[in-house]
């Protein structure tokens, strides 16, 4: 799966002023690459990820998914791409609080209409792979932050995505746990050949990335 942007721009109106969160960004997500977008808070990292993840609409410019113009896709088609071809990891984990680890990981598979037996087997496998084989039936409030992020990673992998979009995945974690999560993401990228694009401040992630982008005031400054 390839995602390209052409002069991608996103403006927010705050009161009478306009904020250029993403300003004419040209960017390309290549298959099986590990990419990092770095920049200070408010520089537009998350906005760019949301646009590329088809979770938001640009003010101007284009996004191409496998050379297809995303602006021509229906809401339902965009959802299908997010469900079947992308995996999302959030800084604040965004797990469903009423579901246990297993159910959280099963959720995208259930939404994709996979058989229940397959959902269960895959979810158990993924949770074991991220080191949570003994925390299957724990709800998020019973897990540590590192464990929650592992569940979120397992959830992101549930439908075998071609790309994982991670928005500051280590932002809420201590350095030891952050290191484990980074290494987990890196392993996934290497073993599964899944493209990983990470918005981060974390130097350790930056060091591992194949490509590093810097964004400031909405502009992608250097590669």
């Amino acid at each position: 799966m390839e995602i390209k942007t052409a002069d991608l721009t996103k403006l927010y109106r705050v009161g009478s002023s306009e904020i250029n969160a993403v300003n004419k960004v040209n960017f390309e997500v290549k298959e099986a690459k590990f990419m990092a977008i770095v920049g200070p808070s408010g520089s537009g990292k998350s906005t760019l990820l949301h646009l590329m993840g088809l979770n938001d609409y640009p003010t101007s410019g284009k996004i191409f998914v496998d050379d297809a113009d995303a602006s021509l896709l229906s809401s339902s088609e965009r959802r299908k791409i997010r469900l079947f071809r992308m995996g999302f990891i959030f800084q604040t984990f965004n797990l469903m609080p009423t579901l246990n680890s297993l159910e959280n990981v099963e959720l995208p598979m259930a939404l994709a209409g996979r058989p229940r037996k397959e959902q269960r087997e895959k979810a158990v496998g993924l949770l074991e792979a991220v080191g949570l084989g003994k925390r299957l039936l724990h709800r998020p409030k019973e897990l540590s932050m590192g464990e929650m992020q592992r569940v979120a990673i397992a959830r992101a992998l549930a439908n075998n995505p071609e790309i994982i979009i991670a928005d500051e995945p280590t932002g809420e974690l201590d350095s030891k746990t952050a290191k484990e999560i980074i290494s987990l993401l890196f392993d996934i990228n290497r073993k599964e050949k899944t493209a990983v694009i990470v918005a981060t401040h974390d130097e350790k992630i930056v060091k591992l990335a194949d490509t590093i982008y810097t964004i400031q005031d909405g502009k992608l400054l250097q590669q």
Binding site: N55, R82, L107, P108
Partner: protein, 393 residues
């Protein structure tokens, strides 16, 4: 993971709020069932009275209020008028004088639902009011013309006071003997003490007076023709045909039904607003969850269904509780209004609150709760992760 399980867990994330909402819906349902079943029951009782005196013209004093064939107010008529009608009007085949007495309360006010009635009727005309009604267990007999203290009573009265054939009772100081118990489904007859006309006149101090005369026309003569003739000949009476009697009660029944519908509508609207408010709050609190579902590609229909399912569950729980409480409340109301002990209503529970009515109200409550979920569900489908996260920061 079944949607139902997810919704159930979501609902009970805020236990107190959900329980209070369910109680609110249950109270509304209780009110609807209790009021609806009570009014429906009385409408049924009034309608079933139409089988009494079928095909007869009822003569009452002018201005008397009559419910079906039962005079509620109005002046008395001379018993001899029955004989005069028969003698002087060729169209009259039979004229039977009857005395209906409803008990008067302590304040000299007629009770809204009298606990019993006394009916005095010439003994040779029992069948006119009782039709083919048998006596319970075929025990006893109907009073004879010679009897001065024999009465038959309705089964409900007999059961309430443990009367059997042969039991002696005292009415207004007169010692009477029960010689038969009526085996009937008609609510009116079930609460009646039926006695010879002369005995009733003596006990209730209406010498040679009655308040209604049942007139049967000769074959070939319509009730309308006979009623017209009677009203022309006797100026101080109203002669009511079967249709006229029904017409008198129809507006009242229609008004009762309109009020009942109005009350139900208001109560259901309040439930809808309650459910909608609570669910809007719940969706607003869980906007991050809904936005996450959107981000990971959940179809809009899934998000919509989740919220609608949750409000439906409130309707199901509230409806079940409300139907149970409301049915019991309807029995309590029936007991209070009729002064009949509550326990006596249990065997006829389904006559007071029919299973169909319970189901109808239950489904209506669930439907209303579903409706209450529509706006919150639409809100939930509009949650976008970018906007939610931006708003949080």
């Amino acid at each position: 993971m079944r949607l139902l399980t997810i919704c159930f867990r979501n609902l009970f994330r805020r236990k107190m709020r959900t329980v209070l909402c369910i109680i609110g819906v249950a109270l509304a349902t209780t009110f609807v069932i209790a009021v609806g079943a009570t009014t429906a029951r009385y409408a049924t009782v009034i309608k079933e009275m139409s089988v009494l005196f079928s095909g007869q013209v009822m003569v009452v004093s002018k201005g008397a209020i009559v419910i079906q064939a039962i005079p509620i107010t109005g002046s008395m008529l001379q018993e001899s008028l029955a004989e005069e009608l028969k003698q002087n009007i060729a169209e009259v085949e039979k004229a039977v004088p009857i005395l209906f007495v409803t008990p008067i309360g302590l304040e000299e006010i007629i009770q809204p639902v009298p606990p019993n009635f006394s009916i005095g009727i010439p003994v040779e005309n029992w069948r006119l009011i009782l039709g083919p009604t048998p006596l319970r267990g075929n025990a006893g007999h109907f009073p004879t013309n010679e009897s001065s203290d024999e009465v038959v009573v309705g089964a409900s009265l007999a059961d309430q006071y443990n009367w059997t054939v042969g039991t002696g009772i005292i009415v207004r100081g007169y010692g009477l003997e029960i010689v038969g118990i009526l085996d009937t489904k008609l609510a009116l007859l079930n609460r009646c003490v039926i006695m010879p006309l002369k005995l009733a006149q003596e006990i209730y101090n209406y010498p040679r007076s009655v308040n209604i005369i049942s007139v049967k026309p000769f074959q070939g003569c319509s009730q309308e023709e006979l009623a017209d003739v009677i009203e022309q000949r006797v100026e101080y009476v109203n002669a009511l045909t079967e249709d006229e009697r029904n017409d008198m009660i129809q507006p009242v029944l229609a008004q009762v039904e309109t009020w009942n519908f109005g009350i139900q509508t208001v109560v259901f609207l309040m439930s809808l607003i309650l459910v909608m408010t609570v669910t809007i709050m719940s969706v607003s609190e869980r906007r991050r969850d809904f936005a996450t579902l959107d981000a990971i590609g959940a179809p809009l229909s899934y998000v919509f269904r989740t919220v609608i399912f949750e409000t439906s569950l409130i309707g199901v729980f509230g409806g079940v509780l409300g139907v149970a409480f409301g049915s019991f409340a309807a029995l309590v109301l029936a007991s209070l209004y009729t002064s009949i002990p509550l326990a006596m209503f249990f065997p006829t529970f389904y006559e007071i609150v029919s299973p169909f009515y319970m189901l109808e109200i239950f489904l209506a409550v669930v439907f209303v709760c579903c409706l209450g979920g529509i706006i919150p569900a639409i809100n939930a489908t509009r949650m976008r992760i970018a906007e939610v996260l931006r708003a949080e920061y």
